[in-house]
């Protein structure tokens, strides 16, 4: 469904992503794991056209989206939930969701999606009229995911959905991701929280200093000694 070929991204003189290739099939949940600064976020930003690509190609459903604009990519059903949530804190929860469906012209479908999102995250229904900045961190993350779901995506790019959340809230978020998986949404997930990411995904890529150093089935990686030492704190 998503295919990245020899992607290179540079910031000034620094190479953040150094020629990575990966592929994600329809309905798959794939994790990209790595330390801070490994280039994971940059990879996602390159896919959704937020950063300029130095070289390489990106395909979504067989179409070349390397040069597509951010709005064209959303329209195709590939939606990015950014790191740090990036909800609109001065808008109400409702208006945030409305912005998630910005490109949609189908009001009935929007209404259906709204109900679906509010069923997934009942707290958003309770807080619909509240200004989003007053939500807790966990609620903001749910809003960020809910907002992305408003556009009926085929595939979600999730950047550190557990960042800054308590273990309990993290579990709630992952619970919802499992539900989305069941609904057939393809998920590409970035996490520092490697254990949860490997648990939920079928496959994973390990990224170090801009390169992919390892890739395998998640249940294989979770018991791999190198991965255990580097990303699971040896504790699992």
């Amino acid at each position: 469904m998503l295919k990245i070929q020899d992607l290179v991204v540079k910031y000034g003189g620094i190479t953040a992503v150094d020629g990575i290739s990966l592929e994600i099939g329809q309905g798959e949940t794939v994790a990209l794991i790595g330390a801070n600064g490994a280039g994971k976020s940059t990879t996602l930003q390159a896919v959704s056209s937020l950063v300029k690509i130095a070289s390489g190609k990106i395909f979504f459903e067989g179409k070349d989206i390397t040069k597509a604009g951010a709005d064209a990519i959303v329209k195709m059903g590939l939606v990015h939930v950014p790191e740090g949530r990036q909800i609109f804190t001065r808008l109400s929860v409702e208006d945030n969701l409305r912005m998630g469906a910005y490109l949609s012209k189908d009001k009935k479908r929007d209404e259906k999606n709204r109900e679906w999102v509010m069923d997934l995250f009942p707290i958003l229904r309770e807080r619909a009229r509240q200004v989003a900045g007053t939500l807790s961190g966990g609620e903001q993350q749910m809003l960020a995911i809910g907002r992305a779901l408003m556009s009926n995506p085929k595939m979600l790019l999730l950047d550190e959905p557990s960042m800054g959340l308590s273990p309990i809230i993290t579990q709630q978020v992952f619970q919802v991701l499992r539900k989305l998986k069941e609904e057939g949404i393809t998920i590409f997930l970035i996490e520092q929280n490697a254990y949860d990411a490997l648990e939920i995904s079928e496959r994973a890529y390990i990224m170090e200093s801009g390169r992919i150093t390892l890739s395998d089935r998640s249940d294989v990686l979770i018991s791999d000694e190198r991965v255990k030492d580097a990303y699971l704190g040896g504790a699992v």
Binding site: L50, D71, V74, D95, M99
Partner: protein
Amino acid sequence: MTLSYILTILVSGLKLGAIYAIVAIGYSIVYGILRLINFAHGDIMTVGIYIILVLMNRAGLPIYVSILASVAISVFVGLLIERLAYRPLRDATEETTLISSLAVSALLQNILLLCFGAQRQPFMLPGFLTQGHTIGSVNFTNINIITFIITAIFLVALFLLLSKTKIGIAMRACSENMKAARLMGISVNKVVMVAFAIGSGMAVIAGFLLAGEYKTVYPSLGFVPGLKAFCAAVIGGIGSLGGAVAGAFIIGVTEILFAGLMPTSYTAYRDAFVFLLMVVVLLFRPNGLFGSTKGERS
């Protein structure tokens, strides 16, 4: 000095404030989204006035048709400026775009100078508009009332746009977090164009009201009122629309009170007084009266 004199100048102060408010909102909307201080905003006003004059005097169109046509043409000019002078600098620093806007301002003034010459041209409002009334001891004219009505309509329309419509909410979303807005598929260029269109169109109306007040037109007419409207936006807390309106009324009223109450030898300094007022406000409230104290967007 009588009460009726004070009330009468208060009415003119409020009227001037209402005009500044229309201009200040244009500054504030564009600034909120692009962090661009568009110094050419006041000159769009002048362009609009000259277009009205040409359509009225040379093409012989009725005044109201001329105003509407001028709004349409000036919106186009505003969009053209955005496309040519600001969009190529979308990723540049705020200082760069600010200098670009000063260049556009100088360019517009000089184009007007070239086309119409430096001499002042009379600008008379139709008799109906200048008809005076007296209620109690306060004197005011139809144009005063119309100014208040127009400003109120603009404010309500803008409030509805920004709180109810998709494009309006998208404008607020962009002004808070442009990157996240792009991830929603919001086209930043479209949002910016809407902001410039609204700002330019409203500036023409403000320009018409202002020229009626000055009774004359000249190529640099809009520049200083534009600066004052900018001061109003700054005093109110730039980016905050309510703040811009409040700032505009504060400036309009204090300017007229200064001009009306000080000895005539000082009235020439009324512009300087307005700018001094901004400096004083900023000394005590660096983010303006209603600005967020949290600083820049995330």
